[in-house]
Symmetry: C2
Subunit: 134 residues, 2 copies
């Protein structure tokens, strides 16, 4: 039986925060904005509408729980969510904390400038801050 495996590019760019019921909740290695990624643990799914209705509902609740936790953990003004997947086809959902005055505000984060990596301490602090309020 084939087992779910995380896409190599997602694995390289993210760190696991915790496992939820459906998704792996991960932190993007990005210092400009707190950026979380949800990856449903399902084989060969590229689109939200390819998930079963039950999994779609699970994903919705995990997305909203993640958004609320991220807002509490960061005090951000606005959550941005998206599922693009034009390059990395394995379904993954972005949940990003935005605030007035962040680099690029009020524009979108996708395609904006160059990624700046987190240092080890900041990565651990962000993971812990999200875990504490999930």
């Amino acid at each position: 039986m084939r087992r779910f495996g995380l896409d190599k590019r997602l694995a390289a760019d993210t760190t696991r925060i915790m496992r939820l019921g459906l998704c792996d909740l991960r932190l993007m290695d990005e210092a400009r904005w707190p950026w979380l990624i949800l990856v449903p643990q399902r084989l060969d799914i590229a689109e939200i509408h390819e998930l079963s209705p039950h999994d779609q509902t699970m994903l919705t609740f995990e997305m909203t729980a993640t958004a609320e936790a991220l807002k509490r953990a960061t005090g951000c003004l606005k959550i941005n969510t998206g599922a693009l997947g034009n390059i990395v086809r394995q379904l993954h959902v972005h949940v990003i904390a935005r605030s007035e005055g962040d680099p690029g505000w009020p524009g979108p984060v996708w395609g904006f400038g160059q990624r700046i990596g987190l240092d080890e301490g900041e990565r651990e602090r962000l993971c812990e801050a999200v875990r504490a309020v999930m």
Copy 2:
């Protein structure tokens, strides 16, 4: 009692395709990619997680029905969805048809170049094509 009203910028940039159970389904005036917008008919909601759990589930099903219809109507390769709202705060969800070779592929549509408006015939044809498969 205050009644729901569509944000003026969304009204200016979009045309109604049809009313769904929760959302107004609208076509963005954009010729570069078929671009739909779902607007939940709820007052003072800026984030998906501010909707009731029932409305969140409704939104999920309307998003996936819209994505499947858009894929059937256009034959696109990939659906891109997002809820940003950094400028227009009224909650609205983007559902966009992407294909290899479209302007900007495989980058994101948000923040990319200048919008090109649809002509009247193309607008009507797209609305009808989506209605026919919803």
